[in-house]
Amino acid sequence: MSALGQSLPRPDARDKVTGDARYPGDRFPPDVLFAFIVFTDQPHARITRLDTAAAEAAEGVVAVVTAADVPVNEYGLTMFDQPVLIGPTSSGRSAVPHDVSRWEADHLAVVIAETEEQARSAAALIESDWEALPLVADIDAALADGAPLVHPEHPAQSNAYHHLVITKGDVATAFERADVVIEGTYELPYQEHAYLQPEAGVAYVDEEGRITVEVAGQWTHEDQEQIAHALDLDLDAVRVIYPPIGGAFGGREDMSLQIVLALAVRKLNERGIDRPVRSQWSREESIVGHHKRHRGRVHTRWAATKDGVLLGVEATSHLDAGSYNYTSNKVLGNLHLTVAGPYEVPNAQLDSYAVYTNAVPGGAFRGFGGPQGCFVSETQMNRLAAALHLDPVEVRRRNVLGEGSIGITSTPLPAGVSLPEVIEECAIEADWEAPPRPPAAIGAFASLPPTTEASRRGRGFACAYKNIGFSFGFPERSVADIVLHGSDDADARPTSAELYLAGADVGQGAHLAFLQMAAEATGLDVEAITPGFSDTATSGDSGSASASRLSWMTGNAILGAAEEAEKAWRDGDRPARGHFRYTPPPTEMLDPDGRTPTTPNFAYGYVAEAVDLSVDVETGHIVVHDVVCAIDVGRIINPQQVTGQIEGAVIQAHGYCLSENLVVIDGRVMNPRFSGYLIPGIGDIPEQVRSVMLEIPDPRGPFGVRGMAEMPLMPYAPAIVGALYDATGVWFDSFPLTPPRVRAVLRAAGVGAS
């Protein structure tokens, strides 16, 4: 029986239901010290004095780490634009001035003490003097004439430090020929990852003398590299291990406490103290202290014929990158490729900018710029349909990218384009042609009986495409190792195997997917395969758990490793080893004016969603009755885990669209708690979410697999906005659609309030 297509249970499930699973915050090795990471609490200021003497003398304190202890005081996933620690003096090299705090959660010091309470109280004794610098609060402030620069050292010499262009055809003529022009300006909100486990970790020197950090992250080898860079150590002097991880969603792609924990261990070591160090952030520290899905603004115009065929798209997009780049340049790339939608667009002028401010950094979050681009393109497409009295599904049929279509960057999409089929399946499953259903009774307040009086019902549709794997010329690769065991007999088949790779299981079930694919590739049972995962000391670089890439990339690496091992087995090797480094077809960066045809990606995933909702026009409350998510997953590895990804992504999208309202004013997060930042609870979710999985193989995917974990998040918000229009005749160009916002926009349009 094939190991694929089976809903096998996760290998970690038993430990997770018994409470035995030890997450990074659950590790209390003997003699462990606590490291408290002190934030600067200064959105923009220069430090002129730092005095840690009183803290160092406080009860229980073992050491205090400051900028003066950092060998190379810079880090960053894609560019070194952030100091590890802010301080007036730094002995180390740094590409970025180390005496300026650009973010309220820049790190100032690490206080290492016997207990957490001692470390926290000693931190209050740290003295520092600051010279205020002008605050760049948001995109408007950053782009204003004469705005102060957040990064004066950046060669761009502008807060808008990263600019991407696509110029295609002749957009001016397209607009002259247009029968209809749809114009909109969209405000896109932040989203906080809110993984249930705040940042935590433990660090120590292992038996081979390596500085070892056990932490929750998304890419062991990248963490290892950044730690080694900042500590000026050889790579193999640093080891990174991922224990079970309490969710990630992109929020653990960048460093949180990895480098500072390693620094703490090193400082202790220098003093001859061989003790492990642990750290854990509170929820508030987590929300203040890590990046967010970018807020941004997009102004766009679409030109179309009276039949709803697109002639041209113009868009100017700005993402608030916040105080440091993190992955903003890459996220911007995805927005850039999705903002004109998954459609044939013959003429386009797209300009996208990442903008430094003193707000919380923007960075990776499930969809990685795609949800922002998709909100804009799909709302535009729904508005186009409405303007022409066309059905939202029909207007998509007339424009959607299909096999052989030329994409926005003037090259054909990689083979296996299945969005037309996905759209049709979604429409069928949602019974899209059926007449509208009557409004449902809504009870906005428990004290009032539900009524239908003010209730309006509507349906909405949206679709999306998103790249799988890293784009724009990134040297993508993934490594896997397989060792086959069995009898020496020449005709014998292997009876067991070891599988080594570093791909992170952040909760999404990647490790189970690896085992099922390895079982399929070797012909063994899943139980016969012993995993060795997520330890830089034992596994090669499998790359990041992001960009919906892990099953796709690592699956290909597993296939290659299995083939190599099989060859060795046939040659009589016992055990038989197979090592494989998979590299996908190369991709290309856009040129500066975006005119040259470019292949930015090697694979895509395709999704469509239909929603059915009621809205109370008096109170602004929305109830979502039904969500159909149709997605081409290429080949189902594990049905239960795939539907788990779809349902989880849809509910995250539900929060993004309806309730999650992160308030950032003057560089400070104002609501860093679950009491004020509302992620959906079990009572807030749609009445039903239906997953429709298509299996149209990706010709390049392992066993036909496509990446899928991000895509279901993308079309939800624009589908909801489309449904709200269907229900009320009013368009929303910003969200989250909290009751006060819905009420206010409806009132302004003259709907509701008798």
């Binding site: 249970p9 699973a21 239960q640 788990g644 992620i679 609870g681 979410v689």
Partner: protein, 158 residues
């Protein structure tokens, strides 16, 4: 600082520990008793990851001071299984993929146990009400609801 001596029945065993007055039951259970199955998701009573059963009632242990547990009977996720034999709720969460990262799982299991102890045959609405204090960022909740329904029906048959 003065320490308080606490004696409680935890997962069936008489347990003693020393704690400071301001320490939460959550921290005492994790740091002093070693029950790290009890998770901290927020520390402010908003997420339910730290849920324990105290004297038969569901409690957010982050909102309980450790000395309040003196004389109490406490059940944590570690106390649900009978040796190697999983509780039906645990078995159904495992089989039904009602967990991804699993950080929320101990809290959901404990909250669902309190529900089923009182109401062996809950409706879907009753399940949603009973689990309304627990957040999950990964699963989207549907598989959690199905797992609780499945456990209820298995327990009824047993």
């Amino acid at each position: 600082m003065s320490k308080t001596h606490v004696t409680a029945i935890i997962n069936g065993d008489q347990t003693e520990f020393l704690t400071e007055d301001g320490t939460s039951l959550l921290n005492a259970l994790r740091d002093d008793v070693g029950l790290t199955g009890v998770k901290e998701g927020c520390g402010t009573g908003d997420c339910g990851a730290c849920s324990v059963i105290m004297n038969g009632a569901l409690n957010a242990s982050c909102l309980v001071f450790a000395p309040e547990a003196d004389g109490a009977t406490i059940v944590t996720v570690e106390g649900l299984a009978d040796g190697d034999h999983l509780h039906p709720l645990q078995q159904c969460f495992l089989e039904g993929a009602a967990l991804q990262c699993g950080i929320c799982t101990p809290g959901f299991l404990v909250a669902a146990k309190v529900l089923l102890d009182k109401n062996p045959n809950p409706t879907e609405t009753e399940i949603r009400y009973a689990l309304a204090g627990n957040l999950c960022r990964c699963t989207g909740y549907d598989k959690i609801i199905r797992a609780v329904q499945e456990a209820a029906s298995r327990m009824q048959e047993a």
